[in-house]
Subunit: 340 residues, 2 copies
């Protein structure tokens, strides 16, 4: 059995197709008698009619579709959250998501954007899987665009990134509240926005508490387990070792745990640790479970789509600004008062 067309509904209701269209789309200011309206609605219901979006798109030039282009959707657990946030928000609004991943290749990316524009997507989410600066393809000038988890260096489109500074402030604040005054920061040696933002938050929060900055307490290593191990070791070797360490991410915190274990330092009694990222398989599974700061990937995904829908629906409104999404502190068991 073929899907019913609008013509079938019209025939069953004994009216013209245009009237059916007008009724089913609730066109403003259309004049249709209540009886006719009811006849049409019940005919549509009886036939199980749903309009063909392809034909509709052809006529209206809108597809109720948005393109999601990401540089890497598989290798980070965060990507899924962003995608899911975007998907949920789109779905709620009656939009569907075209997903394309480019592997970070420039040529493929241009190809992908072209393919999406060809398909007449109503808008595009341009996402990167970790917070950084990006140059967005100029082709995106032709369509509403929102950048997700990155700062665009060209064009002027809305974007959303995590509030790294605020998250770091929350982490350090938690340690201050526990009574710590000598707080180390094991940071990432790469020049990424996340590192500079978190470092800034660390410094600001200490300054606000009138604790003088001690350059010794900031050590940079690779942002992985062994980097964390090394950073912690260096901090332990200081003349006066810190009573708490704020780690750039959970993986470094994991290395920090290992270094502490080797020195016989018990967390949180001899040492307090706070991480960043709230990674599923690390933070809750370490023992003791790690207090950390969560990245709001899901929320950024929904924000991006909602902002995009505003762009699509309203007039352009070129007030292209960035949005900082707060990073909530997740309290677990790795923070205690300083020893003695």
């Amino acid at each position: 059995m073929q899907k019913p067309r609008i013509k079938d509904v019209a025939a069953r209701a004994g009216v013209g197709v245009s009237t059916v269209s007008v009724v089913l789309n609730n066109v403003e200011g259309a004049r249709v008698s209540p009886e006719t309206r009811e006849r049409i609605l019940s005919a549509a219901r009886a036939l199980g009619y749903t309009s063909n979006p392809i034909a509709r798109s052809l006529r209206t030039r809108r597809t109720q579709t948005i393109g999601f282009v990401g540089d890497d959707i598989a290798t980070t657990p965060f990507a899924g959250r962003m995608i899911q946030g975007a998907q949920d928000a789109a779905w709620q609004a009656g939009y569907l998501l075209f997903l394309v991943n480019t592997g970070g290749e420039h040529a493929l990316e241009r190809h992908a954007v072209r393919a999406l524009l060809d398909r007449r997507v109503d808008g595009v989410i341009y996402a990167t899987m970790y917070h950084r600066h990006v140059e967005i393809p100029e082709m995106l000038g032709d369509v509403s665009t929102v950048v997700l988890d990155a700062c665009p260096t060209n064009g002027s489109v809305p974007y959303v990134v995590p509030d790294e500074r605020g998250g770091a402030a929350a982490a350090v604040g938690e340690l201050l509240r526990a009574g710590h005054r000598r707080i180390g920061f094991a940071t990432e040696s790469l020049e990424v926005p996340a590192a500079s933002g978190r470092l800034a938050g660390y410094h600001e929060t200490l300054a606000a508490a009138r604790i003088p900055a001690d350059p010794e307490l900031v050590v940079a290593e690779h942002g992985d387990t062994t980097g964390g191990y090394r950073a912690a070791t260096r901090l332990f070797d200081l003349g006066e070792r810190p009573t708490a360490i704020f780690c750039y991410n959970d993986r470094m915190a994991m290395g920090c745990y290992r270094a502490a274990a080797e020195r016989g330092l018990r967390i949180p009694y001899d040492l307090s640790v706070v991480g960043y990222d709230d990674q599923d398989l690390i933070a809750p599974e370490l023992s003791p479970a790690l207090t950390t700061v969560a990245l709001p990937h899901y929320e950024m995904g929904t924000w991006a789509v909602r902002r995009l829908l505003e762009l699509i629906r309203d007039d352009p409104e070129q007030s292209a600004q960035g949005h900082l999404m707060p990073c909530p502190l997740v309290r677990r068991d790795s923070v205690g008062p300083p020893p003695r």
Copy 2:
């Protein structure tokens, strides 16, 4: 500047639109002189013409689009790989992926499938984020479908799942080759296909090596870190403790590491361990790095899409069978010869 239409190309080349269509689509058996063909192609190139897929779809009833419905695309790191595999395969074939996630809710799932059918997707990938049995929505009977990472209990559609049994055999085989004869299995207490498959692989491989089954050596706990810890503890408390433990997954292996550390058992000298899943943040990060079995999610994703495209292109060919995707062993540092 508006996008050029086929009519513009025709006008520029001085031919009719039908000829342009025939040339650009490389229609078989069409008779067009080489000169005309060349004129049309260069006109199209000059105008930067690309056909409007919406209009094309309306006429041809094909959308070059496939729907991917998953029950949960965010919370597992595996989901991303499957999606990426599917996306890559689709992209290669000129298809785009509509992504929908249902959160496992039945109502939402029906809604999602209906939305995809409304949009006239050419096919649907029905994916679950861990290997299990599913009942697929009957609406999917109207469209080509492939089930990904699950066994459909109704209908007869192709599906692909990991070869759990083979993976377990590889893991146990590795331990046998290292010289172990007394090998424990820390399994998951839930009744899931992965657990029964891996258990079967374990038994078969031991049997093939003429090692009598010892029921004591199989202990079931929750499939997480604490479950692994408990299972390992129980195995250590046996009269004659195993020299190697095959863990249902990497998280259990992580718990097993912890239990071993507490008893002063050094891996791989006093105890060998093999995991399953090859989880990014666990297997390579543990110390020593964990030998484990990888789940072929990316490959399953590409397989599913390729199979789906066959279904779409060829005649139905109702030979709906399941495919077992091999799980490769990943050698790291947690396996050594048995002690003494």
